[in-house]
Every structure is written in structure tokens, then in C-alpha cells.
Symmetry: C2
Subunit: 151 residues, 2 copies
Amino acid sequence: MAEQSNTEWIRETLAEFMRTTGKKNTRQREVIVDVFLESDDHLTLQELLDRVQVTEPNVGFATVYRTMKMLVEAGVAKERHFGTDQALYELVHQGEHHDHLICNRCGHIFEYEDELIEARQEEIAASFGMKITGHRHELYGEPVGDGPCNH
Amino acid sequence: MAEQSNTEWIRETLAEFMRTTGKKNTRQREVIVDVFLESDDHLTLQELLDRVQVTEPNVGFATVYRTMKMLVEAGVAKERHFGTDQALYELVHQGEHHDHLICNRCGHIFEYEDELIEARQEEIAASFGMKITGHRHELYGEPVGDGPCNH
DNA sequence: ATAAGTGCAAAGCATTTGCACTGAT
DNA sequence: ATCAGTGCAAATGCTTTGCACTTAT
């Protein structure tokens, strides 16, 4: 299945990164990576820590913090900031790119991909003599009706 | 000129807001608003404070902080967060909307408006049964050539 | 008079770091 | 043996707030 192969890709990419940069394999990092891989969601450091501590109660916040930074550096995780000042971490899916639509009512995060917008961004940048190295596109909204949302 | 009339619009909108919500006019607020209006730029609270203190050395950080929050509430200022965790404030221009392209090399902030993207966002939201209440679109990039940029 | 505003300093809070100890290679 | 990793607690950095005093209405 696709999910399985992305997990494989992440593990391999990370292993390669760690080999190249001389990082060591530790029990803590293994657990953190496992927890992160198991949840295809947007998690705060605290949520990650809580889940890690189920297996390894002694792991500290700083270790999760540093490990997630490493995953971002290795290119297998992304750090996001939606409205709040708390960082959220999400898995990178090989070769994919997506942006986010956040429901104001329940906090649900939708993901979307749009070629048209991506292309348009490049044109805009070019019109200023620039090329894009990164971007951030977040939509905030609410359900069209006004019942409670079922996201 | 157009800039003059936007200043008028801001002053009137703000006066109306203050009247309606029972806020008082103070010397501090006048100076802060003047400083903010004079600079059509993206300013941190500290930068605003520095400029305010040229005229009114006793004004404190908290007053600038609270005044800018009020301006945002009144709809005449916007608070932005580009990359750093420091808030930047910018003037609202009546009836206008724009997004930003930030130069990684020199920090210059370009502003752009794109109907096509705006429309596309609505379509995307609609495809999830949502309507947009707000959005955030930031492009980060660098000059096409590799000389130093002259922004 | 009275309710809002101000300035200061302290509190919040998420993030980041210094350091002595532990553990992987 | 060596050097990276860990856990803790303390330090940051920006933002926010409590409080006693001041000022606009």
C-alpha cells in the first residue's frame, strides 16, 4: 500500500541523513520516529511527547524537540504554524506538496493540492524578478451550512 | 492624492470605532496612530515604540501593544507574522486586499494582488463544503540572478 | 465622579540552550 | 575512548496582564 511505502521512504531517507551527518541511533529517537510515523496527523511537541512517554516515560521534552528538528532537517517532517503560536509537525509524503484549509469551527485540517495556484505563484514571483524558494498558503473557513460540523 | 484619502479613511474609521466602543482619546494614542500612519511599511512593536518615543519618551511598550491591538480590532491595521515570531503591523488600505512575497536575501516585502488565486481559493473551499473566512498566502523567494539584490 | 488608559514590572508560554551525565560507535 | 545524545532546569524572546496611578469624559 502507498502508506507503507512512504514509511519506508521516510525510514530510508532518515537513515541516510543520519549516516551522512554522523548522528547516532538511540532508543529515544526510534520511539519518537515510530510515534510520529504512526500518526498521519498534525501533532504538537507535547502531543508527541505524551505518546512517546507511554513507551518511554523518561524521555524529555528537549529530546522530542531536537529529534523533530532533525526530522525537519532530514526533509521527512514539516513544521507548521496555523494561527496559534504552537508548532505542529506533519509527515512529508514523498514527492507530494499540499496546502491547508483549517475549519474555524472544529479545527479540522483539510489538505489540498492545486496546480493552478502553484503555477500562478511562479508567475507572480517572476513579475518581481524573483523565484520562489518556499511558500505558505492557508485557508481558514467554516462549513457552508450552520449546523455543527462533522469533520 | 490616494494616500491622503486612505489616511482620512483610517482616521474616520478609527474615530467611529472609538466612539462606538467608548474608548478615549489620549495623547499617547494620537502619537502612536500618527507614527503608524506616517510609515507605509511593516513595523514591529519595538520599531513603533522607538519612533513614538522620539516625541513622547514616556510611552511604554504596553501602550503601543494595546493601541495596535485596538487598531487591528478597528480594522485599520493588520498583524502579520512572516517567518520570525515577531509580529509586524501594516496599514489597511480601504477596500484592498493583498498578499506578500518576501525576499530571503534582503527581507524586502513585495505586495501583490491576484484575482485568479482569490477565486481559486473559493473553489477549493467549496469543494470541501466550506466557505473562506480568512487566508494567508506568503511567498518566499530570491532574485533570479545571483548578484546582491537592490530592493 | 467614574470609567478607561497608562507605565511598569511581573507573568505567560512556547521554544531554545547550557551542562553534567549517559550511551552509541 | 570518544563524541554525540539525553534530561533537566534555566534562559530566551516575544507577548500579555495585574495593579496602582493618571487622565479623559
